[in-house]
């Protein structure tokens, strides 16, 4: 049985999000179905940031005065709460500016391992080694690995996807071999909505001695994630997709890996000693946080995590599943609408990408926008995946905890309007 959404009060939740009460395009109600790109922020998050700036703002880990103490406490408390949210230890959480930086951090640390000491040997990659990704990756979990291969001479390989939007695991044994240095895979596709069997993949990758990086940009915001259960080595996600501020993201990794991984960005606060000719580096997580960090944003993200925890991620997930099921059913009933991705809610989150026969996605999106419905159009930073399905572009509705069934109804009405307008109805 699906988790219950009893007591989940979507109206009360919506009341916390100021932007949802504005109108667009001459007085239309805003129907925000683009949370896959970025989520909206509740008052609680905005208040936490502002309170930090108005009361406690100072550079962290650098000062001895009272404000510096308070700011450092706020920052480290944020780290602890975010770590707890994903079942991790405090010192395993590194703040980055977004998922993209978190993934690049690992990719650059791996190329830096070439000129680092012997303790970094397990991060080294070169000719003959392979990095394995999938065809459903967001560009953020594809291009950094292409670049790592270009820098080091390693080879990029990938899992394909099936017609119905799942990872094609039939060649897993050929892909994951003794040559595999790292498997990078998304936990939830931002286009298909597919939730991948990451724990199983991680076990298979570990069996051949590979490291495993999970792109959790679309999973941590939407479902309960426990890094221990997942069995991954690295996990990356963004604050802005989970009710938090822009400008903050997270790289999680195991303590023993962070302890030997070479630094990426270098500068203040990540050093142990500095001389003109050479430097040594601090212990993690500081080693990976060069410069004055996004303190207020970390504080805001911790408030977002508190908000999500207050609702309960099981219930958030159940709520989105209910919306997704309803959307799949209603969209499926519109003639000429083709859904890209699984057509049921099994192992699936709330990103619903679709094509409308005879109308380009841009034009579908335009009519929806004119009706107050905000969806994403294009390739959603997953261009190879779109090519795989023979689509240059699609429209994507993505749901979050503040959406309700009337939002789905508005989406359906907007698509019908587009079909009429472009004469394909």
């Amino acid at each position: 049985m699906a988790p219950s959404t009893a007591g989940y009060d979507v109206d009360a939740i919506r009341a916390d999000f100021p932007i949802l009460h504005r109108t667009v395009r001459d007085g239309q109600r805003l129907v925000y179905l683009d949370s896959g790109a970025t989520s909206q922020k509740p008052r609680q998050v905005l208040d936490a940031e502002r309170e930090f700036y108005e009361r406690h703002n100072a550079a962290v880990h650098r000062g001895a005065h009272q404000l510096a103490e308070e700011a450092t406490d706020a920052y480290e408390s944020a780290r602890a709460r975010i770590a707890a949210f994903i079942g991790a230890a405090d010192d395993e959480v590194v703040f980055t500016k977004n998922t993209t930086e978190a993934i690049n951090l690992v990719a650059y640390a791996m190329s830096n391992a070439t000129t680092a000491g012997p303790e970094a040997a397990r991060f080294r990659v070169g000719a003959g080694d392979e990095i394995v990704v999938t065809e459903m990756e967001h560009h953020a979990n594809l291009v950094p690995w292409q670049q790592l291969c270009q820098r080091t001479g390693a080879t990029l390989r990938w899992f394909g996807v099936t017609e119905d939007g799942r990872l094609d695991l039939s060649h897993a044994d050929e892909l994951l071999t003794g040559r595999t240095t790292l498997l990078a895979v998304t936990q939830q596709s931002n286009v298909l909505g597919t939730i991948n069997p990451v724990a199983e993949l991680a076990a298979r990758a570990h069996a051949v001695g590979a490291l495993v990086l999970v792109d959790a940009a679309q999973s941590v915001p939407h479902l309960p994630v426990d890094v221990t259960a997942l069995g991954a080595d690295f996990l990356a996600f963004s604050g802005h997709k989970m009710l938090g501020p822009s400008g903050v993201g997270v790289l999680w990794s195991r303590r023993e890996l962070l302890a030997t991984m070479p630094p990426f960005l270098t500068g203040g606060s990540m050093i142990e000693t500095v001389r003109m000719d050479a430097s040594t580096f601090a212990a993690p997580p500081q080693r990976f946080e060069a410069g004055v960090p996004m303190t207020a944003q970390a504080v805001g993200l911790a408030a977002a995590v508190d908000y999500l925890t207050g609702l309960g991620m099981e219930r958030v997930f159940a709520h989105e599943r209910a919306l997704t099921g309803y959307a799949l059913e209603r969209l499926g009933a519109i003639p000429g609408v083709r859904i890209i991705g699984p057509r049921d809610t099994v192992d699936r989150g709330g990103a619903v990408s679709f094509l409308v026969d005879g109308i380009h996605a841009h034009d579908v999106g335009q009519v929806l926008d004119d009706s107050g419905v905000a969806v994403r159009v294009g390739h959603h930073c997953a261009w190879p995946l779109h090519r795989r399905y023979g689509a240059e572009a699609s429209a994507r509705a993505s749901f979050y905890l503040y959406n309700d069934l009337t939002d789905v109804d508005a989406l359906v009405a907007g698509i019908e309007r587009a079909r009429t307008f472009f004469g394909v109805a």
């Binding site: 380009h360 841009h362 034009d363 335009q366 004119d370 159009v377 294009g378 572009a393």
Partner: protein, 148 residues
């Protein structure tokens, strides 16, 4: 109504029945342009005779705005000198960046005035410019090639 002012009949007509579509021989230069956010693409060839544009042929995939705009451009530039066509291209660019405030001259831009409404939607401006930018690129190559 907002949608009608964006999707004027002229645009929808060109979208349904594009003029000059298809890739033709002979040609002096070819350009391939993409819109990185949506994946729309166009491949476009230019044929000059002296300084006159004698053919523009193209193929591609894209939304109504990009398809129609390329079709309208075809009609506007073919038969004009490169200098005249370049002036038109600049006029059109100017209109597209006018944020709905432009007052296009129909005697100059002809069917392209229908795109005035597009300029209110910044995300669609790139669609309307896709073909024009490919034309500019291909023409510059053709001119350079002819000179070289």
């Amino acid at each position: 109504m907002r949608l009608d002012s964006l999707y004027q009949e002229i645009i929808l007509d060109h979208y349904r029945n594009p003029h000059g579509r298809g890739l033709r021989e002979p040609y002096d230069a070819e350009a391939h342009h993409v819109n990185p956010t949506c994946g729309d693409e166009v491949t476009l060839r230019v044929r000059l005779d002296g300084d006159v544009v004698v053919d523009v042929s193209y193929e591609g995939m894209g939304c109504s705005i990009s398809q129609a705009s390329t079709s309208v451009m075809h009609d506007l530039v073919v038969g004009r000198t490169v200098a005249q066509a370049s002036t038109l291209q600049e006029e059109f660019l100017h209109l597209m960046h006018s944020r709905g405030e432009g007052e296009p001259d129909e005697d100059v831009l002809e069917d392209a005035v229908a795109f005035a409404g597009v300029s209110k939607y910044p995300a669609r401006v790139k669609c309307a410019l896709l073909g024009w930018m490919a034309w500019k690129d291909a023409t510059a190559q053709a001119v350079a090639g002819g000179a070289g």
